[in-house]
């Protein structure tokens, strides 16, 4: 059984009488421990796909099975709980809370899980060690560099030991050198057995992942999967 099974996902928006098909029949299987990138130009529907898999949004039609839970018809409350326990998000703009310290930011998901303050602190420090940020735990986000902020965000994504980590343009706001380091960090997480999904428009970044899925006009246009032998990479870098 796969960690994630998408079957014929459709998502349509109605904007001023016009119907926009953001996703148009996407089916996808992802196994535990995979390192995948979703690639596509802006407006291709890749963000919508990530939001739907990430339980921030629901599909119009289609079914999603995440770790044995059918999330396409789950309630808002269930989705919040899944986001909390099974999913970690890393965003382009880091999305840390500026008024909290690094450690408090990392502790935030566990507050909603309902862990004791002692356990929260312990696990937050573990997660910060994982991203080499333990010595900055008392800093505020504004006192950190972009790379450090992103590492804090990764620690926050990791702290509840999620089934899958989503990274939405994680290097988009960083210089290439720092971006490289962040990508190495995701690679390291992958080798430690975590499931990581990168969402990017940049084929170079996508190149770090073994499996690449290209989305265009709401459909899977292309897929490179090392598991499927004999299939040649057919990337269309325009």
């Amino acid at each position: 059984m796969h960690l994630l099974e998408l079957r014929d996902i459709h998502k349509t928006y109605h904007l001023g009488g016009e119907t926009i098909r953001a996703l148009d029949g996407v089916s996808l299987d992802i196994d535990s421990g995979e390192f995948i990138s979703i690639i596509g130009p802006s407006g291709s529907g890749k963000s919508t796909l990530m939001h739907i898999i990430g339980c921030l949004d629901s599909p119009t039609t289609g079914t999603i099975n995440l770790d044995g839970v059918m999330i396409h018809d789950a309630s808002a409350r269930q989705l919040a709980s899944i986001r909390n326990k099974k999913i970690g998000f890393v965003f382009q703009f880091f999305n840390l809370l500026p008024k909290l310290t690094v450690r408090q930011n990392v502790e935030l998901p566990m507050i909603y899980t309902g862990l004791s303050s002692k356990e929260r602190k312990q696990r937050a420090m573990c997660a910060l060690e994982e991203v080499n940020m333990e010595d900055r735990s008392k800093h505020r986000p504004s006192q950190l560099s972009g790379g450090q902020q992103q590492r804090t965000a990764i620690a926050r994504a990791l702290v509840n030991n999620p089934k899958i980590i989503f990274a939405d343009e994680p290097t988009g706001n960083l210089d290439s050198n720092t971006g490289e380091k962040i990508l190495q960090m995701f690679d390291k997480l992958h080798t430690e057995g975590k499931t990581v999904m990168l969402v990017t428009h940049d084929p170079e970044i996508a190149a770090v992942t073994p499996r690449r899925i290209e989305i265009r006009d709401g459909k899977i246009a292309n897929e490179i999967d090392p598991k499927l032998s004999g299939q040649a990479p057919r990337f269309n870098i325009g």
């Binding site: 939001h51 990430g54 986001r83 926050r156």
Partner: protein, 461 residues
């Protein structure tokens, strides 16, 4: 998410925007402190009114006065009017078991200029002379401080004796002698309409609790008086008596003497004739049971109609109407006070709604982040609601702290008003209302925040 963290978060938010929060809280502070202050002043007034009700004999006392205006169907009998007489007193004593202590009163007031009370060139400004029986002491709620009440024998013999109130003493003798001792007028002689009367007793000085305290304090300070202090003391006692005037003024300014003395020595319209037919200013009596007021009145009425040959030339005056007036006055003050304080709280509440709404649009991204890492709608709702409750309750507590000072300041600026009384009840109510305001004010913003779409919220700049 545990409540303590949410509350701490609320305080953190207040601290982060302390100026904005202070402005927001100001509305609640005003609301709560004005509510408490208002009720303290109303309570003060209420106590004063109740005191004056008790002073006038309470609900048990009823009075029958002569009435010149007959009902229409008896108009042609106007010549027969006699008013209340001593005959009525005896008739009631014998035939009306629901009332007791029936006392006749003949009144003379100094402002009608048929009464002059003088002594050694000094005279009183306002005096009420009442000729009555010794029983009046109880029914008028008088207490003797010096000397004694006149006796039934003195009434029978129409002796020239009287018992005076402290205001009368103050006007004719002064309050203190050179040594600062209060003057005792007993056994002195005063002149009423230029006829000598011996003072056999003096009532105690009636004053409100508040005034009594002030006076005692002033007295203490005056144990080491010098001449300069004297002046201020007199000034003080002057404003003091002004205040006391309101409730106890007429009581302190009264002179009581035997009914027979007044009628035979001072009443110019005195005619020889049956003593029983002598007309009186009023009869006053007590009823045994306030719950039987209606029945007692009916009984008195029946007896009087018989002695008056069916003429309704008398009317009742009960304290019930006064009591109703008091209750109505208190109710009105309470309602208008609550209304004003309510408006203050409403404005405070709207302030909170406004601030929370604007702080939410500032924090859309934060809410998106919180949701993306697993905050449920309820978590967000609770967070925003708690913040506004924390804001309102902090304001409420500050309002509680401020209100005693506000009350003291207002009482200082308006020394003539009744002394306000701060009650625990009003503080509890004020505090509760601030909490309710906070919760109500937080509902809309909290609901709005909880319904935010996390994707939209995350994209928001």
């Amino acid at each position: 998410m545990n409540l303590l963290i949410i509350i701490l978060n609320g305080f953190k938010e207040i601290k982060a925007h302390w100026f904005r929060s202070a402005l927001t809280m100001f509305g609640v502070i005003c609301g709560v402190s004005s509510l408490i202050t208002m009720s303290a002043f109303v309570k003060g007034k209420e106590n004063l009114l109740r005191e004056s009700l008790a002073e006038s004999g309470g609900l048990e006392r009823i009075t029958v006065e002569s009435e010149d205006d007959l009902p229409d169907y008896q108009k042609h009998l106007e010549d027969e009017i006699r008013g209340v007489t001593l005959k009525d007193v005896y008739a009631l004593k014998n035939n009306a078991p629901l009332v007791y202590n029936i006392t006749p009163i003949v009144k003379k007031m100094s402002f009608r200029s048929d009464l002059r009370v003088t002594r050694k060139g000094k005279s009183t400004r306002f005096t009420m002379l009442q000729g009555t029986w010794p029983d009046a002491l109880e029914i008028m709620e008088h207490q003797i401080d010096k000397g004694r009440m006149f006796s039934e024998i003195e009434d029978h013999l129409a002796k020239n004796v009287c018992v005076i109130g402290t205001e009368v003493r103050n006007s004719l003798f002064g309050e203190y002698d050179d040594q600062g001792q209060t003057i005792n007028p007993v056994n002195e002689t005063i002149f009423i309409n230029y006829k000598p009367f011996k003072v056999v007793g003096m009532f105690k000085e009636y004053m409100t609790e508040e005034d009594r305290k002030k006076k005692e304090e002033a007295k203490k300070n005056n144990t080491t008086i010098n001449q300069a202090d004297r002046w201020s003391r007199f000034r003080f006692s002057d404003s003091n008596s002004q205040r006391t005037m309101r409730v106890y003024g007429s009581k302190n300014s009264s002179i009581l003497m035997p009914l027979n003395t007044l009628v035979s020595k001072l009443d110019s319209s005195f005619e020889s004739g049956s003593k029983m037919d002598r007309s009186l200013s009023e009869l006053t009596m007590k009823i045994y049971d306030v719950s039987l007021l209606e029945k007692s009145l009916q009984q008195v009425r029946n007896v009087l109609l018989r002695t008056h040959n069916g003429l309704e030339d008398f009317e009742f005056e009960t304290q019930e109407a006064f009591s109703d007036d008091i209750n109505e006055a208190i109710y009105n003050e309470r309602t208008s006070g609550m209304f004003i304080a309510g408006i203050c709280l409403l404005v405070g509440g709207i302030g909170i709604v406004n601030i929370m709404l604007s702080s939410i649009s500032e924090r859309i991204r934060e809410i998106g982040i919180r949701k993306s890492i697993g905050a449920t709608n309820l978590d967000v709702f609770t967070q925003i609601l708690t913040e506004s409750i924390v804001l309102a309750i902090s304001g409420g507590i500050l309002g509680l702290i401020i209100s005693p000072f506000l009350i003291a300041t207002l009482a200082d600026y308006a020394p003539d008003t009744t002394p306000p009384i701060l009650t625990v009840n009003s503080m509890i109510i004020g505090f509760t209302f601030s909490a309710i305001t906070g919760s109500l004010a937080g509902l809309i913003p909290a609901f709005k925040a909880s319904k935010l779409d996390p994707i939209e919220a995350l994209r928001y700049d």
